[in-house]
Symmetry: C2
Subunit: 411 residues, 2 copies
Amino acid sequence: MALIVKKFGGSSVATPEKIMAVAERVIREKGPEDRIVVVVSAMGDTTDDLIDLASKIDECAAGREMDMLLATGEQVSIALLAMALQKLGHPAVSLTGGQAGIMTSPHHRKAKIIDIKPERVLAELAQGKIVVVAGFQGITASGDITTLGRGGSDTTAVALAGALKADVCEIFTDVDGVYSADPRVVAHARRMREITYREMLEMARLGAVVMQPRAVEMGSHCQVPIHVRSTFTNKPGTIIREGYTVEEREFIIRGVTHDTNVVKIAVLGVPDRPGVAYKVFSALAKANIDVDMIVQSIRNADKNINDIVFTIAKPDLPQARAIIAEVGKELGVLGIVVEENVAKVSVVGAGMLGSPGIASTMFGALADAGINIEVISTSEISISCLVRADRVKDAVNAIHARFFPEEQETN
Amino acid sequence: MALIVKKFGGSSVATPEKIMAVAERVIREKGPEDRIVVVVSAMGDTTDDLIDLASKIDECAAGREMDMLLATGEQVSIALLAMALQKLGHPAVSLTGGQAGIMTSPHHRKAKIIDIKPERVLAELAQGKIVVVAGFQGITASGDITTLGRGGSDTTAVALAGALKADVCEIFTDVDGVYSADPRVVAHARRMREITYREMLEMARLGAVVMQPRAVEMGSHCQVPIHVRSTFTNKPGTIIREGYTVEEREFIIRGVTHDTNVVKIAVLGVPDRPGVAYKVFSALAKANIDVDMIVQSIRNADKNINDIVFTIAKPDLPQARAIIAEVGKELGVLGIVVEENVAKVSVVGAGMLGSPGIASTMFGALADAGINIEVISTSEISISCLVRADRVKDAVNAIHARFFPEEQETN
């Protein structure tokens, strides 16, 4: 007699036929005593179509009216899914975010869930109904409709699962779980049976976005196990939870990720005096540019000048280049070098803290493959190396082969 | 410093360009101190498209889920219109039916407005905003979304105008007012400056549907003047109100209407005994078939048998035919004759009660045009004649010419 929240994304409900397939699956998987809540996104490209429609009126429409508009997308899909469940003979009811008690902050288009009032959902479940809830949306204390921003439906599902004290939140998606590396890059990548919230967040930060980090954080906050599984198959996927249920973990490293969406900027010949690094990075922060890896090295101790090297996301390059040029001029630096042919390869694993030698294994794998490391950075549960972009796939494969010998099974 | 509710239908907001045009008009017509509420329908064919979408899941989807679906149509148009008003520099806010306090009965797809809580609308108006409200929809006491059925947006507008004690409710439509006859039939039909609720209702009942009768009834109930005017021009249309503001009414007859959506059924040789008419008409009533004109005449006094002739709407014919065949057999009638080549022509005017000779003028006009009258029926403010359908246009013109001599002006 489980309480399960299931979330289906836009591509799973893109057509009436697909909605019917979702309804069939939900009913098929439901135990006689199970209580089921289904969270859905807008059908297919509906949200983008609505944004296009609004842009014909105003390219920069206000958030409140935009949310009013966008919320219709999920409202259509919940109505249709409830109809489909009823058509198949199962009592069902659709609820908007507001009706489901998803209370949010008033920050339109990027509202945060601040409370969930689950009474209505619980009452409908108690009547034996499958409850279909609109993802991505909520309501403010004053009754205005809000949307949660990117990945919002995942967040709705996990938060609702937390408020309902659900046994599990199942996220149905187009991949069948979390892999030890991108299966398109590493042929022998393994599907993980389990992974911790923290590892999942770190993998997402380092390029492996299976789920939006916000939803994972929400899962960690509410301590709801999140089961990432495929819309297209019935086999189990990966469960994201606080710790491991299996007694022995065979793999300290949970995944090898890579990220090609990076650019390296080197500021050469920066005067070595207090406040210089602050000047460079506060200018970038003011422009909302996230700086990732940072290395400062001594260029010439006699002349008291250093080199500062850092990485940013590719789309930020034009803005960052202008900012750094200005700051560089002010500081009288020797030069600025931008390198776009770079990528980041990382290993992630909560167990690496207690396991010395992870870094050297990683560096060894890269050295044996003849791949040069340009920058290194580490966190508590990850190690990242910047390499040349044209060698990143080799790098991932070399590292993966070292940490995941082919004959072994995961977990 | 007027408070005005304006309603624009689906064809007025069918595209982003048309929505922008509505926004421009609303701002242009607004006096500096005016408080404006705009009620809009769903864009163009949106409602039909949503019904089609639902039918791909379930031909007979439940009302609650259907309302959840259909309500998105108006939600899209209010968001876009509010964006358009803001884009043009005027503060605006969109409100769903529920947010605007439109409280309804829980009868999905045909809910009745039972209360309006205008606090939010008044608060937004007090802040100088143009308030855009979704027509056609409301919310139940338990927070479920309902729709009001046919003509629902007009009803929303008029009811809201009543609750806000608005000075006038302007209904923008594709005709520029209420005419003394259908201008497509009568070249010299005149636009009325004023007409009473009661006359308008009677004209609608008799075939001239400019506005849904429910909205007119609501106007009468709330005593809100309704101004029916064109979306495409700026000239004034027709004001529907309780009485006339002009001192002298030149025309006792306000309109000549016609209705070709009728069928005549004659039940011949019905036994003349108590309860027979009840038997015939209660069987039709049970099947929800509206009977309009009824005439009973003596066929043969010696044999104690009568003929009963009545009219119904065309779409009800197949069902009515089956019912009458069965009842007729039971009663042992002589025969049943269905005549489809009929149409109803009527004159409507609240003043006819105190003006004898209206009926004879009408009959004279028909006689002079060589048109035979098959059935006559009267109400307090109307007289209707059933004529052959192929003569109905001649009939309308003949009667109109008699009551509205060409040289005179209306009102």
